[in-house]
Symmetry: C2
């Protein structure tokens, strides 16, 4: 059953090379949301697109770009892994409303309004004060709605997230985060946020990043499935998916770019600490090519039907993206 | 007959506003190649795209973007003016080969390798020494061939132009220039260039810019048609079109940006001079909404068949663009 359905990972940021594309293909994943920018401005983001174009050209037997959900269906039919691009921050649009349509046309399908810090649009989850959506942020939400670019609030603070859900005329997502009831962390989301998000048709993707999980790298597959079940009770079975936040084979400098960008002269450790500054250990049941299939099997063992497990593994992401990416021009 | 065919102006750089779009629509023009960059780098070019997106949004009863020739056919069917975008310089790609595919995806269908001056790719027509296509230039030609971005050598020097014709695996264009036999100017093209270009399937668009014409602003429609006839004898009827270089309603500062960009502290007068530094007077028979129809009627009066005149007015551009824009991915 796992092999038949559409499997979507709602966020990865691995060290992209041919060997990993082979692992992805072997994993049975139909499509992956890949992060192309954390702090890159508009000009730098163009280089990130160019790098992906070269990967598509050099690995076209394994992967293909996704500009619409028809491409995901094509990827499934061809046995390739579809790649759809997103940004974890609003840095790719600089301070310019018109760059939303430009970036959308280039293939930026998803954008976070803020990454941990205050941005021009909203407040990040590590700020002390959350002032909600800014004046520019309101314009950006409207424009993202118009061009069909999906709003992602994974790294945003609570008030900003709730306001974005309200202000957006279209459902939004939290592509990769877990409920705080499972693990209390600034990056995780309250039941209030999860309810508000999903009542409006939004989607939350469960993270496999150890810092977001109960017991960190010791989290068992059964612990994970319990969290999914409890979230489904709040959000409904149609509004949950996987957004693994998988960051494989990346050097320490990438972690430092994610956490520090150009904004801090002193080291910021994000979810880590000075004593624990590196990448967390990967979960043994979510690494290599069997990770998504292990989750599917775990969900079925835990009591989800095959149909429900299929929705969680990709069906829900597919439906959400199909609605959200259609331009309202 | 004029009304039935596809009419394409292979280059304009007017002051784009709603009033002018109404003039364009009334002119019966199906599609226009508009210049979006002279010296703008990659980042600045994004803003030019954003400005056009806003014009498309605000004037969608009059104009529509052209990303492929199917859009030109759609524009014809809808009675709108199709707009396809190009750059008169290679500045939009900075020094980065990967930006060709990025800009092509954004809608940059045509790019000149150089604008008057030496560029990173080739030599411009006002340089004293022409060293031909550079190392980077050869890579760019190959990449433009691959992604289906059309090479334009309107403002390039002779040797560079001949080398580009040879190096390119696909036909290239001179979107807006006239033969030197009609008017001897550095910007116009020798019979050698015209023959080499068109023998390889390339296209030359006749310019209506007075500095490129015999007798300047006094050039008569009959003079123009004589030039067309004589060029057709060299190039064949299938390889000529119109590229008016029409620059209406632009302030002096735009002319200065075109000529000086950021490269000169002293004023460069381009085709003009210190004593004649402004825009030339427009041709009385090529202004307002009747310009293209006047040319069509002039060509037929001069002895071209309606079919031949139709090719020159747009049929040839359509065929050339359709071939040239298809990606070889």
């Amino acid at each position: 059953m796992y092999q038949q359905g559409i499997v979507i990972d709602g966020l990865q940021y691995c060290n992209w090379d041919r060997e990993y594309f082979q692992t992805l293909k072997a994993s049975g994943i139909t499509a992956v949301h890949v992060t192309i920018a954390y702090h890159e401005n508009a000009r730098e983001t163009l280089t990130r697109f160019a790098e992906w174009n070269l990967r598509f050209e050099q690995n076209d037997d394994l992967i293909m770009p996704v500009y619409s959900m028809a491409d995901v269906e094509l990827a499934k039919a061809l046995g390739k892994v579809g790649i759809f691009m997103g940004a974890q921050n609003c840095s790719p649009i600089d301070d310019e409303i018109g760059l939303i349509e430009v970036m959308r046309r280039q293939g930026l399908l998803i954008m976070q309004l803020t990454y941990n810090n205050q941005s021009l649009l909203a407040t990040g989850c590590y700020e002390q004060h959350d002032t909600g959506i800014t004046r520019f942020g309101k314009q950006v939400i409207e424009e993202m709605n118009r061009v069909g670019m999906i709003i992602d609030m994974s790294h945003s603070a609570e008030r900003s997230t709730l306001e974005a859900i309200d202000l957006s005329a279209r459902p939004i997502c939290i592509s990769h985060a877990n409920p705080t009831f499972a693990h209390d962390a600034l990056r995780n989301k309250s039941n209030t946020v999860i309810k508000s998000l999903t009542e409006r048709g939004g989607l939350i993707g469960f993270s496999l990043y150890p810092f977001h999980l109960p017991n960190g790298s010791e989290c068992s597959l059964e612990d994970f499935c319990q969290m999914v079940e409890k979230t489904a009770d709040i959000a409904g079975i149609d509004h949950i998916g996987i957004g693994s936040d998988l960051c494989l084979n990346q050097p320490q400098q990438v972690l430092e770019w994610m956490r520090n960008g150009r904004w801090s002269k002193t080291m910021d450790y994000g979810e880590g600490s000075a004593a624990n500054s590196g990448w967390p250990d990967a979960l043994p049941w979510f690494s290599g090519s069997k990770g998504m299939e292990n989750i599917y099997n775990g969900l079925v063992r835990h009591g989800f039907s095959e149909g429900e497990a299929g929705k969680i593994m990709g069906g829900n992401w597919f439906d959400f993206l199909q609605q959200g990416l259609e331009p309202n021009l």
